[in-house]
Symmetry: C2
């Protein structure tokens, strides 16, 4: 309040500071960045001027001169469910710890590339232009756009994407976990299964889960599509499925939200979970624990995924080699009530 609030948005420049301190802009820059020697008295004068003028270096100026942005981007399909939010938490935390800003881009709502100038490509290009590196979730972005990014040599980390030269990839384990889950369900004595949320894209997480389930259960499991990975579309699909003739004994859902929708549908139809139908999810989101019955699911380390992506990206940007360019993180089977009764003392 004692200072004149004349600090126009982006107003005061290094020249004004220099003039006020009676030095050259070079000296101001050196003082502020700690590059090069500056005499004690000079330093004082400069810092005082900076303080009085409330000087903050123009980000655009710095970026242009330095040739870098000190910002990293991340592209995800949406933030509706907890999944991407959790990954984002881990990513933001580490990235800002490393002194870089985080620019986000959700591809939700943009046209899924029919050919030609599409919105996603433009948005990703725009984003790529203002960051030093990018994290992109699996199938949020058309393949040719990913290739364009790789070709541009932009440091790139892909989450839940098949290994790819020119980029680091990172994902949670899927297939083995799916097999473990399937075996667990077999242990309950269930026989007919449905896999709800059948895969869209080959090689994405859900596809791999389906592969694993399929390996173990063979023809005893039928794939059933949901429109999206949301409670609502899980509910809709489950309603159809459970009302049908060959009602499965257990529904293995692609993710927790679809599973929650399934439980809702079962309830609506007067079916008891897990007595009439067992239900399992994937991810172990918060609601999984609070659902009744609590959801049996596969926990994947969402925050760690984000954190590791951030670190890998930083290494890439720094020009360091990344130890393991295509890493897979372990998951954990979380057995709760929704998959069937367990002996009270049992594990």
């Amino acid at each position: 309040m004692d200072e004149r609030a004349d600090a126009q948005a982006g107003g005061v420049t290094i020249y004004e500071v220099a003039q006020r301190a009676g030095v050259s802009i070079a000296t101001v820059s050196r003082t502020l960045r700690g590059t090069g020697p500056v005499a004690g008295a000079t330093r004082e004068k400069v810092l005082r001027a900076v303080e009085e003028l409330r000087f903050t270096p123009s980000r655009a100026g710095v970026s242009l001169a330095e040739g870098r942005h000190a910002a990293n981007g991340i592209v995800f399909p949406n933030l509706s469910g907890p999944y991407f939010a959790e990954v984002l938490i881990g990513y933001e935390e580490v990235t800002s710890e490393l002194g870089r800003s985080v620019v986000i881009l959700s591809t939700k709502g943009r046209e899924p590339t029919p050919r030609g100038t599409d919105a996603i490509r433009d948005a990703v290009r725009e984003l790529a232009g203002r960051v030093d590196g990018l994290v992109v979730f699996g199938s949020t972005v058309p393949g040719d756009v990913v290739e364009e990014l790789v070709a541009s040599r932009l440091p790139l980390v892909l989450i839940s994407h098949a290994p790819m030269p020119g980029a680091v990839t990172l994902r949670s384990e899927n297939t083995a976990s799916a097999r473990a889950l399937a075996h667990h369900l077999l242990g309950h004595g269930h026989a007919e299964f449905a896999f709800l949320g059948a895969p869209y894209a080959t090689g994405d997480d859900v596809d791999l889960r389906w592969q694993g389930v399929r390996e173990v259960l063979g023809d005893a499991v039928q794939p059933v599509l949901t429109a999206e990975y949301t409670v609502e579309s899980g509910y809709q699909a489950a309603l159809r499925l459970l009302r049908g003739a060959g009602r499965p004994r257990a529904v293995i859902c692609s993710d927790d939200e679809v599973a929650l929708g399934t439980i809702l549908a079962a309830e609506e139809l007067g079916l008891s979970v897990p007595h009439d139908v067992a239900v399992t999810g994937w991810d172990d989101i918060m609601a999984a624990r609070h659902a009744r019955p609590a959801l049996t699911t596969v926990r994947q380390p969402m925050r760690e995924l984000g954190a590791r992506a951030a670190r890998a990206l930083d290494a890439l940007i720094a020009g360091l080699g990344v130890e393991d360019a295509h890493r897979t993180l372990d998951t954990e089977l979380i057995v709760r009530g929704s998959c069937g009764p367990h002996p009270p003392g049992g594990h």
Copy 2:
């Protein structure tokens, strides 16, 4: 693949395009931005060169020349629960629709300003330096930092913050909703109440809810603090509360996550919800609907909050006046099972 992938990250400049097209950089710029006249043939040449070179204007260069960033920021405490994530969804959607990037900053983990150069202040300044406007959640940022932002004339929208000259503020209604909720609980015949998640800061959302509840229930309600607004700390606090002597008949929680924790605690203690103790939440997050019993809560329009903030900020940046500088959005009481039995046919 047919093109040379020599596009170094941030490599090709407008000069190279100009040279290749045989024109000046001014013409290239005019062609790409659509400012000023360009002859058809020239336009063709330029566009072809742009295409062949995969030219994308350097963001830093553009920003510096234009004097703007084409990016907006948002500051929130964390992204753990669904609340801030939902607001962010609304914000991101509208902002990117308006052709601007979104830069995020979570204050989680940064020291809460003991005096002196603190991490939050620095992070916010850094953010402020790379955007054209900022949205800040209520009490994520120390008061003097907010004042600094206002003084800097940076377009600023505050969410869940008391009205303030120099900034637009936006929030959901709290007090009246709290009164309505309290009345509803009284209608169930409950008598002793606890308000779990007692306010930290005067004037923030939770404080206003507490005020409303207090107005109606008077001394029949006791405030009980939780460490954070999370399931875990709600659980811990509820455990203590419900195990104590003067166990309340109804627990009004500051938000849904605390309420979910409370339900967990009740279950752990062998108490039936709502028979032994009624529980209510706030926000209507996804898990509220899936909890058993389903949570009675106050729904607030989280996405709309974000969307409106984005639009207001855009108006501010454009220099337009904002119609209503201090707006309050309506909420809705969502009655489910956790507050007590309702007549089957009742509303």
